[in-house]
């Protein structure tokens, strides 16, 4: 017997138990693209004499960024307070949206009556531009944090709902047969087979959800708010501080990339079998 094990063993190449996964810094081409973009920006501003209220000089944007970042985190002039306000509202909304999406998506996947009840509305709402509901939500929830959280939750709900439903239904029948042959309960089958099986789908939904949550919070702030990055943008716009608008957009862009990276990192930790699974 042991000799059999040994014969089979060489077929296995020694692998590290935890393959190292780092967040990729992107391909060199992406960085070259960024450099070309900035260079053509500088060239356009200097050679074509584009007025600064249309396209500010890069150095003006850098200066605006610096003045927002190089201050005490508690300063009312810095980006930190509005960023925190936007981020915390988006995070709260995202948590609610993702939680509800996962729960309702699971119920739809498990119970056919609920699927038939919810599915038509889910698809109808999915095709509705949800940002258009934002003014209504501001009427309902007011100009405080509530409306920001609600719109973030609404926007992040749908990708998670659809993806978790799809992922939970995409389970291989053999795996269900296995659990049935073991007389596993419905919840055991859900927890042990369906949920892990759906994890890559759910993370794809989560990836969209975090960005949508941020979008939702900003849109809500445009409609009326006392603080937040949306307010920073509208205030800069009001005084034609285009460099300030650009700086805020850059902050939001970087934030989006960081959030995406966090989701990808979590996915790599949770769906650890994914990379080698299809081999």
């Amino acid at each position: 017997m042991t000799d059999l094990a040994n014969i089979a063993a060489p077929a296995m190449t020694p692998k590290p138990t935890k393959p190292s996964r780092r967040i990729s810094l992107g391909s060199p081409i992406a960085w070259i693209g960024l450099a070309v973009l900035i260079l053509s920006w500088i060239a356009a501003v200097n050679l074509l004499n584009i007025p600064s209220y249309i396209l500010p000089k890069p150095e003006a944007v850098v200066r605006a960024l610096w003045s927002g970042l190089a201050v005490s985190p508690a300063s009312p002039l810095g980006y930190y307070l509005p960023l925190w306000s936007t981020l915390s509202n988006a995070a709260m909304g995202c948590a609610i949206g993702v939680g509800l999406g996962l729960i309702i998506g699971s119920l739809m996947a498990e119970i056919e009556a609920i699927e038939r009840l919810v599915m038509p509305y889910a698809f109808a709402l999915q095709s509705l531009p949800k940002v258009a509901i934002a003014p209504l939500i501001v009427i309902w929830f007011g100009f405080g944090d509530g409306s920001k959280i609600a719109i973030s939750a609404l926007l992040s709900f749908f990708p998670v709902l659809i993806n978790s439903f799809t992922g939970l239904r995409a389970v291989e029948p053999e795996r269900i047969d296995l659990m049935r042959s073991l007389s596993a309960s419905r919840f055991e089958t859900y927890r042990i087979v369906k949920l892990p099986n759906a994890a890559p789908f759910i993370f794809a939904g989560l990836d969209m959800a975090v960005v949508y949550a941020l979008l939702g919070a900003i849109v809500a702030e445009f409609l009326g708010a006392q603080r937040g990055m949306g307010v920073v943008i509208t205030q800069a716009q009001a005084v034609s501080d285009v460099a300030g608008v650009f700086a805020a957009l850059i902050i939001l862009g970087v934030l989006g990339i960081v959030l995406h990276g966090i989701v990808r990192w979590c996915e790599a930790k949770v769906v650890h079998w994914g990379a080698n699974r299809k081999k």
Binding site: M12, E174, L178, R180, S183, P196, H272
Partner: protein, 275 residues
Amino acid sequence: MLMMDVDNAPQRAAIAPNDVLIAIDQVSKTYVSASGAAVHALSRISLDIKPGEFVCVVGPSGCGKSTLLRLLAGLDGYSEGRLLLDGEKVAGPSRKVGVVFQAANLLPWMTVRDNVGLPLRVGGRHAPAGDRIERLLAVTGLGDFGDKYPYELSGGMQQRAGICRALARDPEILLMDEPFGALDALTRERLNLELQRIWQENRKTILLITHSISEAIFLADRVIVMSARPGRILADLAVPIPRPRTFDDIVLHPDYARLAKDVRGLLNAQEHGHD
């Protein structure tokens, strides 16, 4: 029905010869395919299997042999007839039965140890695992691989883990659905040898579905030959070759050549009947 040669199976002498563990009585199965057509999968199958017997079922592709196994596993219902396991009517999956699936069917998000121990953690009655899982892993040469994930194992080792998992609850009956079909020939022979050893040590009753004639004769006390759909039993052939068998010895055994010829003849007649 052909009786098993008791001399070749001295370990089973204590069991009353008439004792039947799996009784399949006039079982038919018709199901509706995805296209809506009624498929007559099994037609009046009757088969008795005694405790400790190793029975292999061979037949052309799509003859309903996997359907038969699914009925015994309680995964599908049957249309007609009677199906008894240890005297009890099959009404669903039973704890007396362990199923070994095609291509191992391990869960990729669990370690090998967790996969093998899964039957002890689900389906109510959570038995304390004790060192049972470790013993099973050791016995099948997976002792050092308990912490690995299935994708880190070769196909042969994955199926060993699949067999371990089916044995985790110490079932009386092992149902195996073409368990080695996806493996290369050499790995397959090794696992056949190993399965024979496990069977001789554990005294399980095994029903194994295969389309390999040599695998069936090597492993089985009885080879059941099934017809093309609707599946019927064409022959029930005893394999009076002493154990433990090896592939080198068995091909020289006169009964091997005779049985292989008979089974091949029956299957070929089926193929031609189809043309």
